[in-house]
Amino acid sequence: MELEYGNKEVFDAETASAMMKELRDAFGNGKTKSFEWRVSQLESLLKIANNHEKEIIDALCSDLSKPELESFVHEIALMKSSCKLALQELKHWMTPQKVKTPITTFPSSAEIVSEPLGVVLVISAWNYPFLLSLEPVIGAITAGNAVVLKPSEVAPATSSLLAKFLGEYMDSSAVKVVEGAVPETSVLLEQKWDKIFYTGNGRVGRIVAAAAAKHLTPLVLELGGKSPVVVDSDVNLMVAARRIIVGKWGCNNGQACIAPDYIITTKDYVPKLVDALKLELEKFYGMDPLNSEDLSRIVNSNHFARLKKLLDDDKVSGKIVHGGQMDEGILKIAPTILLDVPEDSLIMNEEIFGPLLPILTVDKVEASFGMINSRDKPLAAYLFSNKKKLKEEFVKTVSAGGLAVNDTSLHVAVSTLPFGGVGESGMGAYHGKFSFDAFSHKKAVLYRSFAGDAPARYPPYTPAKLRFLKALLNGDILGIIRALFG
C-alpha cells in the first residue's frame, strides 16, 4: 500500500510513525543494500532529470525566476553529473578497503567495510531547491540507505515537482518526499533517524542539532556565512571582476551559500576595482539590470523586506556606489555595490544572501586575513592575487569550509574536493565520494586466527609477560624476540 504524504494529508505524529515503520521494514529486509537497487534508483533519478528538464526549469523559474542557463548549469547538470559519477564508481566505493595490520595484532588481516546507516532524513533549502534536495539524496541512496526528503516550502513549485516525480520514478517504500513547513519538519525531527543531512541557516541548524542529540543521530549541517573576497592589486582585473560577478550575481542573484558576500581590497586599488565591476556588470546585464532576464529575482517578499532593511540605515545607503534600484512588485533588486559601510552595520554582520556587495578597504592587503578570521568561519573564502607568498599565507591562515584562489564558487563543481563548512558554517562534507562516505558507517573488521596465541595476554601476570607486552606495543622486534626467548 502506498501512502501519500503530500499536501493532501496531514503529516502528524501518527503518519510519521507509520512512515518510519514502513521505511525501517524496507531497510530491514535488505533491498536498499543491494548494488542493483542502488543502481536502479540512481538511473531513475537520471531519468527524471532527462525526461523532465523543461518542467524542472519551469519550476525553478516559477520559484526563483532563475535564468534557464543557471537552472541547467547549477542545478540539473550538477545533479546529473553526480548521478553519473555515482553509477560509475559505486562498485568501487562499495568494495571493502583492505588495510595493513600492525605487529601488535600479528597474525591478522583487516578491512574497512562501508555499510548504510539505515533510514536517513534530508532537509533541503530553497535557493537551489532541485540540486540541494537531490545531491544529498544521491549520497544517501548510493550508500544504501532508505531516505526521506523534505524539500523547502519556500520553493513550492520545485517541492511539488520533486514529490511528484520521485513518487513516480523511485521505489516509494524506501524513498519518500514529505512536503510541508515548520509543523511537518518538527514532526520529522522528532523521529529517530540514523543520520540527518540539513542545508540551511545556523538558527535552524541549531534546532536540527538539538533534535538529533535526543537520539544520538549524527549530522551533516551545510550552513552559510559571509564568504569574503580579498582582491589584491596585481591581478588581471577584468577576469577577476567577471569571476566575482558571476560568483555573486550569476549565482541566483547572490542568494547562494558560497556567493561572495563582501570584498576586501586596498584603498589605493578600490577605484579601479569598482570601475571594472561596473563595466563588466553592464556588459553582462545591460543598462537596465532590474529587467534583465539573466538575473534571478529575490525569492519572496520576506527576503525582499530583509534585504531592503539592510539598506535602510543612512550610514549604509549613503555608501552605494552602484545600483540600489528595487522593484517590490517583481521582487527584483539590481546588482548593488557599496563602499566602506560601517563594520558594525547590519549588512556587515549578517549573511547578505542577496545582490548587495559591500567593499571594505584596508591600507595593506595583508590586513584582510585578520579581519576575516575575527569573524565567524564562512563556508568559502576567496583571494585574487598573483603573489605566491600572499596565496600561501591565505591558504594557511584563513579558516573556512573551502577556499578558491583567483576564482569564486567553482570549487563546488569539483567532485574530488569535499564540500562543507566549519564552525558556524557547518560540519561534515559531501560531493563525489564524500557523499557516499557521509551516509555510510565505516565498519572496522579484524580477522584473527587461533594460531599465535600469546600467553602474555593472560594472567597470571609476570614480569616476563610485562617485558613482552612492552616490546610488542612498542613495535620493538628485537625486544619481542628477547622477551620470547628469555
Partner: protein
C-alpha cells in the same frame, strides 16, 4: 564562584594561545608528543599506583591497556604527524585547466575532551594525542570517578606539556556542566549514551561538532569449533576480554556470549577452569582482577543479579565483597532475554551465556538490540562470517578474537547508532580533530567565456557538453562544426 573565575581564565588562556598560532607549527606538536612519551616513561610507577588505587588494576593490565597503548599512539603520531599535516591532492577535471585542487587539514581550534573512568589514562591521553597532533589547544576533563588518576594528570601534566595550551580541569558534574556552557570548536566524549545526549545537546547550541565514544552490549558469538585446542583458545580469549579488561568495565568487553545449546556446557566448564587459573578459586583469594570503580556501580551491577530468575541462572560465582568493591567472576546460563542484565550494558564481571538451537539465531538476537560498539565471532565458517558482516551493524567486528582491534591503529575505532559516532586511533585521531579544508587554485590564463552572461544558445550548448566532459564535442562546437541544439 572562585572555580568559575579560574575556569574562565583557563579558557581565555587556551583561546589566546590558539589565536597566537604556535600550536600550528609541526615543531610545537612534536615537542608535546615527545613530552607525553617522557611523562609516561618518567612516571610509570606513579601511574601504576594511581590505577591500582582507583581500580585495583594489575600493572600488567595497566601497561597493556593504558601506558603501552598511549606510548604506541604517541610514537605513531610523532613519526607521522608531518605526513598527516601535508595537503592531499585532489584531481581536477581537464575542463578547469589550469587548476590545482587539494585538501588541507587544519585544527578546529579549542577542543574539549571528556575522559571516562575505566581507562582513565588512555581515554584521556589517546584523544589528547589526536588533538595535539592536529594542532589544537585542549581542555581535558578526566573522570572524577577515578580520582587518583585525575589528580595525578592534573598535577603532573603541566610540567611536561605547554601549560598555556593544554589544561587539565578536574571536577564532577557541576564542572562538566559549566564546561558545556562554553563554546568549543570540537568536543570529544567517552562515556555512556545518557551523558552523550547531554553533551550533544549542549554542543548543538554552538554548532560544535562532536565525537561520541559510547558503549553497548558487545556480543560474542561462539560457533562450534572442530579442534578442542581452538575451543580452548576461544574461551581463553573470551575470559580475558571479560574479566581481564577492568573486570568487565570496558566499552569493548564481551558483554554476553551466544552459543549453540550443545556447546553450552563445554563452554561453562572451560570458563570455570580458566577463571580458576587466571583469577582464583573464590572471592577470598581473587587475583589479577580489577575492582568495581565505585559503590554506585557496585550496587548497579549487584542489582542485576537480584531478579530471582536471573539469580537462578547463575552457574558460577555470584558472590560479592561490598567492603572491597569486588564481585567475583560470575557466569549465568540463559537468564531471561528481557531481564535488565540482558537489556542494559553490564559493565561488570557478570557473563550471561545465551544458548540457541542454531548459531544462526545469534544474528536476530544481536539485531533486536541497539547497535553495539563491537561484535566478536569465533567461527571458521566463511559463509557465517559473511552473514554476520552483512546482516548486523556495529562499530567493528573481530573474528576469532576479542578486543585486540583496540590496538590495531590502521582500523578506525568508534561506534554507530547508540554506540556513538566519529572515530579515532592512528591517523583517525588526527582526522577527528581536523577540519579538512578544500582549496582550489585557479589561474587567470584561459577564460571560459561560456561562464558569463549574457546567456545564449551557444553558451548553453557549450555547458551541456562541458558537463558531460565531452571534450571532443567542445572542440567541434568551438570550430563551428557542432550545431546548437535549438
Amino acid at each position: 564562584m572562585n572555580e568559575m573565575v579560574e575556569l574562565g581564565k583557563s579558557l581565555a588562556e587556551v583561546r589566546e594561545t590558539f589565536r597566537g598560532g604556535r600550536t600550528r607549527g609541526v615543531a610545537w606538536r612534536k615537542t608535546q608528543l615527545r613530552a607525553i612519551i617522557k611523562f609516561l616513561t618518567d612516571n610509570e610507577d606513579q601511574i601504576f599506583k594511581a590505577l591500582e588505587q582507583d581500580l585495583g588494576k594489575h600493572p600488567v593490565e595497566a601497561y597493556r591497556d593504558e601506558v603501552g597503548v598511549v606510548k604506541k599512539s604517541a610514537n605513531l603520531a610523532l613519526n607521522c604527524v608531518e605526513k598527516w599535516m601535508a595537503p592531499k591532492k585532489g584531481h581536477i577535471p581537464l575542463l578547469f585547466f589550469p587548476s590545482k585542487g587539494e585538501v588541507l587539514p587544519e585544527p578546529f581550534g579549542v577542543v574539549l575532551i571528556f575522559a571516562s573512568w575505566n581507562f582513565p589514562i588512555s581515554l584521556s591521553l589517546d584523544p589528547l594525542i589526536g588533538a595535539i597532533s592536529a594542532g589544537n589547544t585542549v581542555v581535558l576533563k578526566p573522570s572524577e570517578l577515578a580520582p587518583a588518576c585525575s589528580s595525578f594528570l592534573a598535577s603532573a601534566l603541566p610540567s611536561y606539556l605547554d601549560p598555556k595550551a593544554i589544561k587539565v580541569i578536574e571536577g564532577g558534574t557541576d564542572i562538566a556542566e559549566q564546561l558545556l556552557q562554553e563554546k568549543w570548536d570540537k568536543i570529544f566524549f567517552t562515556g555512556s549514551p545518557q551523558v552523550g545526549r547531554i553533551v550533544m545537546s549542549a554542543a548543538a547550541r554552538h554548532l560544535t561538532p562532536v565525537t561520541l565514544e559510547l558503549g553497548g552490549k558487545c556480543p560474542t558469538i561462539l560457533d562450534s569449533l572442530s579442534g578442542s585446542s581452538d575451543m580452548e583458545v576461544a574461551v581463553k580469549r573470551i575470559a580475558g576480554a571479560k574479566w581481564g579488561a577492568c573486570s568487565g568495565q570496558a566499552c569493548i568487553a564481551t558483554d554476553y556470549v551466544l552459543v549453540e545449546r550443545k556447546n553450552a556446557y563445554i563452554l561453562v566448564d572451560l570458563l570455570k577452569k580458566i577463571i580458576q587459573r587466571f583469577y582464583g578459586e573464590n572471592l577470598k583469594n581473587l587475583k589479577n582482577l580489577s575492582k568495581i570503580v565505585s559503590k554506585h556501580h557496585f550496587d548497579r551491577v549487584r542489582k542485576l543479579l537480584e531478579d530471582p530468575i536471573v539469580a537462578a541462572s547463575i552457574v558460577h560465582g555470584g558472590s560479592v565483597d561490598e567492603e572491597n568493591l569486588t564481585i567475583e567472576p560470575t557466569i549465568l546460563l540463559d537468564p531471561p532475554l528481557d531481564a535488565e542484565i540482558m537489556t542494559e550494558e553490564i559493565f561488570g564481571p557478570l557473563l550471561p551465556i545465551i544458548s540457541l538451537d542454531n548459531i544462526q539465531e545469534s544474528i536476530e538476537v544481536i539485531n533486536s538490540r541497539p547497535k553495539p560498539l563491537a561484535i566478536y565471532a569465533f567461527t571458521k565458517n566463511e559463509a557465517f562470517k559473511k552473514q554476520i558482516l552483512t546482516q548486523t551493524s556495529s562499530g567493528s567486528v573481530t573474528f576469532n578474537d576479542v578486543m585486540v582491534h583496540f590496538v590495531c591503529d590502521t582500523l578506525p575505532f568508534g561506534g554507530v547508532g547508540q554506540s556513538g559516532f566519529g572515530r579515532y586511533h592512528g591517523k583517525y585521531s588526527f582526522d577527528a580533530f581536523s577540519n579538512e579544508k578544500a582549496i582550489l587554485q585557479r589561474s587567470f590564463l584561459i577564460e571560459l567565456e561560456a561562464r558569463y552572461p549574457p546567456w545564449n544558445d551557444f553558451k548553453m550548448q557549450f555547458l551541456r557538453l562541458a558537463y558531460s566532459f565531452n571534450y571532443i564535442g567542445l572542440v567541434l562546437l568551438y570550430l563551428g562544426l557542432k550545431r546548437t541544439s535549438r
